[in-house]
Amino acid sequence: MSLEDMRSPEDTRLSAYLDDELSVSESQRLGDRLQQDAELQDRYARLRGVQEFLRSEGDPSFQEAMERTWHRLSLRNFEQQRPNWWSRPVAVPFSAVAAAFAILVLVGGLLIRFGGPTYFSAEPQQADRFGDTVELSAHARESEELLRRLSGWESRDEVTIQLPESRTFEFVGQPVIVPAGH
C-alpha cells in the first residue's frame, strides 16, 4: 500500500473504524460495506495488520535509531560532526591537577593567614528542651565585630520547656517578678 493509497478518504474512515472512532451509524454502514466489498476487505486487513504491528512494538529506542541512522550515513561517506571545542572532554594529567590544587591551597592559606578579619564560621547552638547550656561557638578576630554579630542575632532561639503533663495550673494572682526572698 502506497502513501497515496493511504491518503484516500476511504482509508481515513477505515482507520477511524479500526480505532472505534466512528459514530454508531457510520460504523454500522461501513461494517455492512465490508461484508460485501472484497477490495475494501483487503484494505481493511492491511490497515489492521499495520495497527497490530504498531501495537506489538514497544517504545522505540532512540539510541538505537540514532546509531542505525549514523551507520547508514557513514555507509554513504558522511562523517559525524565533531562537538564544539568547549563541550569536548579534556584529559589533564593527574600531576598537573595535583600541582594546581597545591597552589590553590597555598594561596588560600596565605589569604586566610594574612587577609582581612575572619568572622563567624558557626551559628550559635540551639539548646534542646532544657538543661543544655548554650555556648557560642564562633571564630572572630575583633571583639567589635563579635559584639555586632551577637547583637544582630535574631532572638529566634526561644527555648521551649515542656512542663510535666497531667499537671493543670490555675492563676493564683497576677504575674509578678520579684527579687528572691520577697
Binding site: 597545591a102 592559606g109 520547656i161
Partner: protein
C-alpha cells in the same frame, strides 16, 4: 619535582591549619572582658507552696541588651518570658516581660495575663518570676495542706567568665 610538590603541599596544610582566629570560646570571650553574661533560669513547679516537684534548669549566654527568651508549654498553659539584662558595672537592670495564657479548668475560658517589670539587681542576685502570680501560702487546718501547685522561674545573672571559673 616530586620533592617540591611535597614541600608545597605541606606548607599549604600548615598555613591553612594555623590558628589565625580565636577558636576557643573562653579566649574569645576574654577579648571583650566581662561583657558576656551568663543567665541561669530554673523553672520549677512548686506544690503546696514549698515543695518543688519538678524543675528544669537552663543557662544561656548573652550580652547586655540582648534578651533571653523562654517558653513553657503545659497541658493548659503557655508561658512566654523574656529577660533582658542591662549591665552597668556591678549592677544590673533586668527588664522582664512575661505573658501567660491559661485555659481555665472545666471551662472554655482562656485567660491571658501579662507582666512587665524592670528590676534593679546586683550581679549574682536572684529574681523570681511567678507567671501565675505569687501565691499567698495558706494552710488548710483540716488537711494540713497548703494551696495548689504554682510555677516559678528563678533567674540569676552573673558574668560569663565567673560562670566559667565556677565550672
Amino acid at each position: 619535582m616530586k620533592h617540591v610538590f611535597i614541600v608545597f603541599a605541606g606548607l599549604a596544610v600548615m598555613l591553612s591549619a594555623a590558628p589565625a582566629v580565636a577558636d576557643d570560646v573562653d579566649e574569645l570571650l576574654e577579648l571583650f572582658g566581662e561583657d558576656a553574661l551568663h543567665v541561669s533560669i530554673d523553672a520549677r513547679v512548686v506544690e503546696d507552696g514549698e515543695r518543688t516537684v519538678w524543675n528544669m534548669e537552663l543557662t544561656r549566654v548573652t550580652i547586655s541588651g540582648r534578651s533571653v527568651q523562654v517558653r513553657l508549654d503545659g497541658e493548659n498553659i503557655v508561658v512566654r518570658a523574656q529577660f533582658t539584662p542591662y549591665r552597668n558595672n556591678e549592677s544590673l537592670l533586668l527588664v522582664a516581660q512575661g505573658q501567660t495564657w491559661l485555659k481555665v479548668t472545666d471551662s472554655d475560658e482562656l485567660r491571658y495575663e501579662t507582666a512587665f517589670e524592670t528590676v534593679p539587681i546586683e550581679l549574682g542576685e536572684t529574681v523570681v518570676f511567678y507567671p501565675l502570680g505569687q501565691e499567698n501560702v495558706t494552710m488548710d487546718l483540716d488537711t494540713k495542706r497548703y494551696g495548689t501547685i504554682n510555677l516559678e522561674l528563678e533567674i540569676t545573672v552573673i558574668p560569663y567568665l565567673q560562670a566559667v571559673e565556677k565550672e
